[in-house]
C-alpha cells in the first residue's frame, strides 16, 4: 500500500528510481495504482482549491 502511494507520488513529480519502477511492474496488479492515482488527483485538486481560496482572501 505504502509502496503504491510512493510510486504514484513519484509519478506526479515525474521522477522515479529505475529499481522501484521494476518492482512496480513485477507486482502484477494494476488496479491499486489506478485507484490510488485517481484518488490522489482528487486530493491534489482539493488542495489547490483550498490554497487558492486562502490566497484569495
Amino acid at each position: 500500500m505504502w509502496n503504491v502511494i510512493k510510486s504514484v507520488l513519484a509519478a506526479f513529480f515525474g521522477v522515479q528510481k529505475e529499481s522501484r519502477r521494476r518492482e512496480d511492474f513485477t507486482s502484477g496488479r494494476v488496479m491499486p495504482f489506478i485507484i490510488a492515482g485517481v484518488l490522489m488527483a482528487l486530493v491534489l485538486v482539493v488542495l489547490i482549491a483550498v490554497v487558492a481560496s486562502l490566497a484569495a482572501r
Binding site: F13, G14, V15, K17, E18, A56
Partner: protein, 372 residues
Amino acid sequence: MRMRLVRTAVGMALTGPFEVVLANGWNMPVGVTDLSRDIHTLHMVIFWICVVIGIVVFGAIFYSLFRYRRSRGAKASHFHEHTTVEVIWTVIPLLILVAMAIPATATLRDMYDASEADMDVLITGQQWRWRYEYRGEDVAFISSLATPREQIEGQAAKGEHYLREVDQPLVLPVDRKVRLLMTSDDVIHSWWVPDLGVKQDAMPGYINENWVRINEPGTYRGQCAELCGRDHAFMPVVVEAVEPEQFDSWLAERKAAAAEAAMGLDREWGLDELMERGEQVYGTICASCHQPDGGGSPPTFPALAGNQALMDDRERHIETVINGVSGAPMPAFRNTLDPVEIAAVITYERNAWGNETGDSVQPSAIAERIAD
C-alpha cells in the same frame, strides 16, 4: 577600478541593445495607470528571468562543448538514471514558475477587480466602429475613423496619427475608477489601449468587465485587436483623459446637447411638421381667447386671422408669444411652452386661416432667444 570598468562595459554590452529597443518603443509601454505599470514591471521581471536562464543554459552547453571536446581526449560517460540530478532539474523550474506565478496572479486579481467604480462606460464594438455609452448619463456616441480616404488610398501624405485617429474620442476623467463594460453588436472585437493596460474582447451576447484609473491627462491610442472583418484595421480607439472638473463640464455639455436633440433643437424643421404641431398647440393653448378660427374677441383678444401687423412684423410676433404683452391679457409663454411648441404655434399663426406669409420659425432660433 579596472574591474569596475570591465563590469560597466560588460553591463552596457548586455543591456545596451535592450535600451535601444526600449527607447524605440518596441517594448510594451509603461503606460499611465497603476495596473499598466504593474503589467510592465511583471513583463520586465519575467523577461530578465528568461534572459538569465538563457545565459546559464546556453553558457553551460557552450562551456561543455568547448571544455570537453573530443580533440582534447574527452570521453562521454554513459548512465541511465541519476535521481538527484532529475530531482534538481524538476525542483528548480518548479520554484521559478511558482515565484513568477505569485506576482502574476496578484496582478490578474487586480485587473478583474472592477468593483467600487465611480462610473460605468459601455463599449460596444460594431463593424467597424466603437460606440461609447456613459451609463446613467444619457450620453452615447459613435466613434469612427477620422483618417481621410485619400491618405488610405495613397493620394495624400499620411498624417501623424494615420489610422489611429477618430472623429469623437472616448473622454475619461483622470483619478477616477472607470468600469468598462464591453460587448459587441456583430462579431468579436477587442478593445485595446496599450497605455491603459487594457485589452479586452468585446463579444456579442456577453458583457466583459475591465476598469481603468488613469493617472495622467493625455491622448491614448489603440486599435481593435481581434480580426473582425474587412475594416478591422480601420476602427481605432482614442481615449482622451482629462482632469475630473473638465470631464464633468464636458459631460454636462454632452448631456445638454443630447437633451436638445431629444427636443428637436438640433435640426431644421419643415413647414409642414411645424404647422401640424402648431395646430395642436394653438387648439389647446391659444384658441380659448383667440378662437379656433383665429377671429379673436376684439377688443380684448385681437383677431389673428388676416392681422396685417402680425404678418408684416415677424419679430414682434415672436416677441409677443415669448414675452407676452404688458398691460394686456396676453401672457408670456417662454416658461410654459418649450421652444418647439412656441416655434410651431407662431409658424401656424403665420400660415393658417388665409395668413399666407409662407415663413416658418425654427425651434433652435426660439431656444436661442429664450436663452438670451
